[in-house]
């Protein structure tokens, strides 16, 4: 019942919210036939988005979302005006590319160039401060691709503003921040997707998990994740802050320290004030799949033990350069994360059960018995959430108000495994964890590490 062409989706919902029922249960305003249909998308079906964090990953995300015809990007936000320095020895593909808010804005405006003439597209704003983006009434959903220490506050504020949220993995910098995000998202009932895109892009992962959940390898006993740590940084000297970076805003809630070019852009993830190193960078994916297979997505281990993790003793980076730990679950399953040498399967996991095993790589799946590879998951078997496109899944859920494949609690629990591991390795201890209370048992020092105090004026 749309008369006014200019009436966007949010306004329509607001007007329709005459009764409690309409506000809460959000009946299918958009008929399913409209989902993903080609051709012009009616305003009521269009999802307007803002992008908080448009560095390398953020711009990638933006492009991905923009390729959906029912998305309209109206705002980007980044503390970097524009830089071609995002390229890093880990990310050769980014070398020389321009990222940041102005390059992102240009990409958006070019994409919608045709529609600007017709008056449908009013241009893309570029903000430094994400709070200005969040007060905009015309934005339905945000995609947050900031460094980890800048996940919690934008997510919580976005939830408070009623925006649906797609947030990069790892969900959080600390377990306390993760829980606060869950509470805010659930309190405000917004749709939330954690960027664990492997659940969608890699069908073989879901297949492997379904094999395990359906007992095809007997009882799951052990999960081994192969993960190497990050590198050690040489001597460094404080540098002048480049013009295009609002460094104070970049630091945000993290403690003040002088600028160095390897602190920001890509390599923030090797410094524990901003991230959790490879434990979170790649681990968040691996342990997420492990939890999915183990059916512990909404809980966590009961024990976490350092098996010899190592941290750089000097230099700028302090994230673990060797990751080695063991987590034990209440159901008896053991999750071990250990370094891998040449010849071993790179990343992801090996699942060992009483009647077989499954090796899962980025592409390969090896099984024992071999016949498992062609095993069929029958109609009466456990079927896991199927998504072929992580961003599309989010967008569909924005419309149907259903839970996406990696909702906030699941993202929080996966990130929690990473944080527990880093804490155990930092303390060099074996710790008992209560996944219901989300506290360590009998270890005050470990419990203090569940949160990081924030620099003024920031708070959760």
């Amino acid at each position: 019942m749309i008369r006014d062409k200019e009436l966007n989706r949010r306004q329509f919902i607001k007007r329709a919210a005459g009764t409690a029922a309409a506000v809460i249960s959000f009946p299918h305003i958009v008929p399913t036939s409209a989902l993903g249909k080609a051709g012009n998308v009616a305003p009521s079906e269009r999802i307007t988005m803002g992008f908080i964090g448009v560095g390398g990953m953020g711009t990638n995300n933006m492009r991905g979302f923009m390729s959906n015809r029912d998305v309209q990007v109206v705002a980007v936000c980044d503390v970097v005006k524009g830089s071609d320095q995002y390229g890093h020895w880990y990310k050769r593909g980014w070398k020389g590319s321009w990222f940041g808010r102005e390059p992102a804005r240009n990409i958006v405006e070019e994409h919608y160039a045709g529609r600007k003439e017709s008056g449908v597209f009013k241009g893309c704003s570029a903000y430094v401060d994400f709070r200005e983006l969040l007060v905009r009434d015309d934005i339905d959903a945000v995609c947050i691709s900031t460094p980890d220490h800048w996940h919690a506050i934008p997510v919580i504020m976005a939830a408070k503003a009623g925006k649906d949220i797609h947030c990069e993995k790892p969900l959080s910098l600390t377990i306390a921040e993760g829980r606060a995000m869950v509470e805010a998202v659930q309190r405000h009932g917004v749709v939330f997707q954690t960027g664990s895109q492997h659940r969608s892009t890699d069908e073989h992962l879901r297949f492997a998990c379904e094999l395990i959940r359906n007992g095809r390898i007997g009882e799951l006993k052990r999960i081994v994740v192969f993960l190497n740590g990050s590198s050690i940084h040489g001597p460094w000297q404080p540098m002048g802050v480049p013009d295009e970076l609002d460094y104070n805003m970049w630091l945000g809630p993290a403690p003040w320290v002088p600028y160095h070019e390897d602190r920001c852009l890509y390599s923030f993830r090797y410094i524990l004030d901003y991230s959790g190193g490879e434990t979170t960078n790649t681990g968040a994916h691996c342990y997420d799949i492990a939890q999915w297979a183990n059916d512990t997505e909404h809980t966590g281990p009961v024990e976490i033990e350092d098996l010899g993790g190592e941290f750089p003793r000097d230099g700028l980076y302090n994230a673990p350069n060797k990751i080695h730990f063991r987590a034990r679950y209440a159901n008896g399953v053991e999750l071990i994360s250990q370094p891998f040498g040449r010849g071993e399967i790179e990343r992801f996991a090996r699942f060992e059960g009483t009647e077989g095993w499954i090796d899962v790589g980025w592409r390969i799946v090896r099984t024992h018995p071999e016949s498992l590879k062609t095993s069929v998951i029958g109609p009466n078997d456990v079927h896991l959430y199927k998504s072929n496109d992580h961003k599309r899944n989010f967008l569909d859920c924005v419309k149907t108000r259903r839970e996406p494949i990696t909702p906030v609690e699941v993202g929080h629990r996966s990130a929690s495994v990473c944080h527990l591991a880093n804490i155990a390795m930092l303390l060099k201890e074996k710790l008992r964890w209560d996944p219901d209370k989300e506290r360590f048992v009998n270890n005050e020092q470990a419990n203090r590490m569940l949160s990081k105090p924030m620099r003024s004026p920031w708070h959760l």
Partner: protein
């Protein structure tokens, strides 16, 4: 074809080199030991004490076991010979030398007065797989016999925790290698077993094993001598860890009714024609037999700050005082390591905390002080509150002080935050408000309620958010009043905090009070997200 041959040749060469390498690493235990040369025998005899310290009442019998499942020490045949000569020359004991496990039965062990583990490694004693063997040895000791451990004797019992405890050590590495000369200090110069060294420390060329807590502990064994870290060569060895400051090289302990004597020296052959060391071993063996009655009471490190670590820590903290960003942070890492090692000892931590506070009150740079605050955030107690409290109002130190304070539990922290709030300005003021909210300090509600009306919007916003965190009845009241007195962005925050108060009421079981607030917030005129959340709150409260 030539290329193929070349490749095969290289491959074979590689394999051969690898096999050599493996040999050097494993030092495979030979089936038969080499003969000790006449020259070596002469050296041993010349150095050997003629008499025992304690008169031999009746000749004893020593089982010398030398089996190696792991690394084989080349000194083993020399040690065997030396012990044989020792027993003969002094008339104190007979020696039976073997590497056959069958000696470890209750019956077979009866004849011996002590078992000497001569550089044994990886011995197959497993309570699950060889229960009888384990019982035989453990009963042997506990019922009143002895063990003499030579050098690698602590490289055993991986599967048998009780035996590791009994030995008081487990090999994990030897930064002090056999080619180096290391300094040893005599911890118990007056102890009978140390008479051989005449109370003076010495330097020795031998391989020394690292000793790790908690298996190795001065609480559990009487340490007779240890590495002297005041010697730069010994202290600066490659791979030195701060936890190595106390590396024991000989000790005694009781085990049940039995006795343990261990000495780390014994990798190099020449140890066994060193007169003082032979005297030391002889005395230790007589102790193990039960003939030489000596003090075995452990001497725990007195907690008066005189522990070895404290000296080390003080030295490092001087470096922390001059540390600035961009320099090597190695000293800081070493401080962290020392602190980590003390984690299970509140008494030690208290001393360390005091030393750390010394850095905060010095003219250390911002970088050094921030590091100290990070450490205090983990181990700090009320002891730190006064010093940290004084840092709260200064722009440069406020955030780092709160980094520590926010994580330290207890009311003293809340008190000092509230006190500082009175005089704080700018960012420090906002930070203190945030910390009070984070800590859910109810006694701050009155001050926060007033600050919601502050002319500084950032202060007001922080106060509103903090009240929402505390969410007790007085905070709820303050927010209820504030929502009608505020507008725009600030009002939005007040309403959100008010909403959180309603959530808290539900959690406390006060449903009707909560519903009243939800109903109020659901009304027209409130911002849409507030209304939506209020509605959700209403529905979920109704469900319970």
């Amino acid at each position: 074809m030539n290329k193929m041959r070349k490749l095969i040749g290289i491959a074979l060469l590689g394999l051969w080199c690898l096999s050599l390498h493996v040999h050097t690493l494993q030092a495979v235990s030979p089936a038969k030991l080499r003969e000790v040369t006449a020259e070596e025998v002469q050296k041993i005899e010349k150095a050997m004490p003629r008499r025992t310290t304690v008169r031999v009442r009746r000749p004893r019998k020593l089982l010398v076991f030398w089996r190696c499942e792991g690394f084989f020490h080349k000194s083993i045949p020399v040690v065997n010979k030396a012990l044989e000569i020792m027993g003969q020359k002094t008339g104190a004991f007979d020696v039976v030398t073997t590497d056959d496990y069958s000696v470890f039965t209750t019956e077979n062990l009866k004849q011996f007065d002590a078992v000497c583990l001569n550089n044994t490694t990886g011995l197959k004693f497993n309570p699950n797989e060889t229960p009888e063997r384990c019982k035989a040895l453990m009963d042997f000791v506990k019922n009143g016999k002895g063990i003499v451990g030579v050098h690698a004797a602590t490289d055993n019992f991986n599967q048998w925790a009780e035996a590791r405890e009994m030995m008081g050590g487990k090999f994990t590495g030897h930064p002090w290698t056999s080619g180096g000369t290391w300094a040893i200090k005599i911890d118990e110069p007056d102890h009978p077993l140390m008479k051989a060294f005449k109370g003076k420390g010495f330097k020795i060329k031998d391989e020394i094993y690292r000793t790790d807590a908690p298996l190795y502990s001065r609480d559990k064994q009487l340490v007779l001598m240890s590495l002297d870290m005041s010697d730069p060569t010994t202290r600066n060895v490659k791979g030195f860890k701060p936890t190595d400051v106390d590396t024991g090289t000989a000790w005694v302990k009781r085990w049940g009714k039995g006795r343990i004597f261990y000495c780390s020296l014994g990798h190099n052959d020449e140890i066994f024609w060193n007169p003082a060391i032979l005297r030391h071993y002889l005395d230790g063996i007589q102790f193990a037999f039960g003939d030489y009655k000596v003090d075995t009471k452990p001497k725990p490190i007195v907690s008066s700050g005189k522990g070895i670590e404290m000296a080390e820590l003080q030295e490092l903290l001087e470096k922390v005082k001059t540390y600035d960003w961009g320099q090597s942070r190695l000293a800081l890492t070493e401080v962290s390591d020392i602190i980590k090692k003390a984690h299970s000892s509140p008494a030690e931590l208290k001393k360390i905390e005091k030393s750390l506070l010394g850095v905060l009150t010095s003219d250390a740079k911002r970088a050094g002080k921030q590091f100290v605050c990070r450490e205090l955030s983990i181990i700090g107690t009320e002891q730190s509150v006064p010093v940290l409290g004084k840092m709260l109002t200064d722009d440069e130190t406020s955030d780092m002080a709160r980094y520590a304070l926010e994580r330290i539990p207890g009311t003293a922290v809340n008190d000092v935050l509230r006190r500082a709030l009175r005089t704080a300005k700018g960012n420090p003021k906002v930070g203190i408000i945030n910390s009070l909210g984070q800590r859910r300090d109810r006694r701050a509600v009155r001050a926060l309620g007033r600050l919601v009306g502050d002319s500084d919007q950032t202060v007001a916003a922080a106060a509103a958010a903090a009240l929402g965190q505390i969410a007790d009845s007085r905070a709820t009241k303050a927010l209820a009043e504030a929502k009608d007195k505020t507008s725009g962005k600030l009002q939005m925050l007040v309403l959100d905090s008010y909403l959180r108060c309603a959530d808290q009421l539900v959690a406390d079981g006060k449903r009707s009070e909560a519903l009243a607030i939800y109903k109020e917030l659901q009304k027209q005129g409130n911002p849409a997200p507030i209304r939506t959340a209020a509605l959700r709150g209403m529905l979920s409260a109704a469900k319970r």
